[in-house]
Amino acid sequence: MTSQRLMYWSIRFYLVVFFIYLFTPLVIMSIATFNDSRFPTIWPWRETTWRWFGELANDTAMWEALLNSFIVGLGVLALAVPIGVSAGLFLSTYEGKGKNFYYSLMLSPLLTPGVIIGISTLIFWRNLGVSGGIGLTVIAQTTFISAYVMLMVLARLQRFDRTLERAAYSLGATHSQVVRRVLLPYLKPAIMTAAVIAFLQSFENYNTTLFVRGFDTTLTVYIATKVRTGLTPAVNALGLIMILVTVVLAVAYEVLRRREQNRKDAAV
């Protein structure tokens, strides 16, 4: 029993160390926002200040980059969600020799380094006369983000009871009715989650975007440029805001999910 106790405590100790490792960087980055020092640091502490938020708010290039990130994110949503859903529906319907091949091909963008997706997209579209920019960024990101959507849709479809469809048909429903009234409502949670993930993936993408962005700058690219040239705690202020937005969204999502769960439990 003692060895089990030892294991119990050592794994807890390890988890504490692990989460310190995970969160220390974020905490230090956040604290450094309030230090009145030109280079972001928490040591030595000069003066506590809010001025970096002001500098950030006055940074027009940042706002432009943020807008670009939103446009790209929405563009990717509009393309990757329909593609991913189609791919999921296709895989859950088609049975035959080629299925494994299709699945591997759909998975391949996730196993390809992001820089290569960016490079191949850049070269291919230049041959067609399209050069780098927001549009090409949407195309390049869609290439691999569709695969995430496909996986999430497929995971839900695998638990789908096809007798529901057959029941609808025997009650005289048309194909489009079955899709609209049975299949899509069933897929809705997966599609919503996939949409959120797709947007986040797009928003934070760097490696692929770097090659296809042309002269346009997304927020991630902007931050990276800032870190390497002209780093001030205004970057930390931006980081802190993103952390807060993330935490608020994560908690809100969790609360909503639980409420939904309770509602369902109550209905049963």
Binding site: L22, P25, M29, I42, I83, H175, Y206, T246
Partner: protein
């Protein structure tokens, strides 16, 4: 195929599904890769020379890579460091995944999963940037170590590969923890208990029962982390020094500083082959198929 689809969705919907699917797989996935490979076997020509006598297939771009000592060294260093990152990430993630999958209560799983995901919703650049702050010459880590009397003078963490390794392990933990968790979760806890009752020690239980069961998860995690590490641009660019360049940085320079896209395409293709080779090796070692990945 079309029959199965129309039987389920009707004709118009089938058409939409197939058009979207084929647009994705052909125009976005396959053709760009093929054109990139085609590009890599051609010399870098000005537009007026295209279609001329010099516009022929050649291995010249690849010979440059083989002939250039610096590029070759960086290529092998990238492989070695990415393997190191993969192994370190596996070691760091395994206990967490095991705890989540076998020991934690449902509430703990929820909480830990949330804690794990939060840092990953924040941009890779920002996460890497925070390590840059910690590891910088006058940063808090040096201040702490000096204060504790563990070192006499500040350490230059950001010279050499140390910073890059720390930053990468940090950046890719999640891609290891979740596949491991998925695989270990399906292990019947009675097996562990039976082994313990029969007198197996902790290491033996993991080596003989948990790890063999978790093989698909370990393989998926390793493939993802290796691919991300070898293909990373942000982490080495932010945490590396001129002495610790990454292969992706050379590729980037061919495109946007050297202006030689054909050379860049060749280097990119070599990187792609490296990743495919790694995937094939892992699948062979762990005896799993491509269908096990992504589950």
């Amino acid at each position: 195929m079309i029959k199965q689809l129309t039987a389920r969705f009707g004709r118009p919907m089938t058409l939409v599904v197939l058009l979207l699917l084929w647009f994705w797989l052909i125009v976005l996935v396959l053709l760009p890769q093929l054109i990139m490979i085609d590009y890599s076997f051609k010399p870098n020509l000005i537009p007026s020379q295209l279609g001329g006598p010099e516009d022929v297939y050649t291995l010249g771009n690849y010979q440059t890579l083989i002939g250039n000592d610096i590029h070759r060294t960086i290529f092998f260093k990238t492989i070695w460091s990415s393997i190191l990152v993969t192994v370190l990430t596996l070691l760091v993630s395994y206990p967490v995944a095991y705890f989540l999958a076998q020991l934690a209560t449902a509430k703990q799983v929820m909480l830990i999963a949330l804690l794990l995901v939060i840092p990953y919703w924040i941009n890779e650049i920002l996460r890497t940037f925070s390590w840059y702050l910690i590891l910088s010459f006058q940063g808090p880590l040096n201040a702490l170590l000096l204060g504790l009397g563990l070192i006499d003078r500040p350490v230059r963490f950001l010279t050499g590969d140390g910073g890059v390794l720390i930053g990468m392990v940090y950046a890719y933990i999640l891609f290891m923890v979740f596949p491991l968790y998925n695989a270990i979760e399906s292990l019947d806890n009675n097996q562990v208990r039976a082994a313990r009752n029969l007198g197996a020690g902790l290491l033996r239980i993991h080596w003989r029962i948990v790890i063999p069961h978790a093989k698909p998860g370990i393989a998926t995690g390793c493939i993802m982390v290796f691919m991300l590490a070898a293909g990373s641009y942000a982490v080495p660019a932010l945490l590396g020094s001129p002495g610790s360049r990454w292969f992706t940085q050379i590729i980037y320079n061919w495109f946007f500083e050297g202006g030689d896209w054909n050379m860049g395409a060749a280097y990119a293709f070599v990187l792609l082959i490296l990743c495919i080779g790694f995937i094939a090796a892992v699948m062979k070692v762990f005896r799993i198929g491509l269908g096990d990945i992504g589950k």
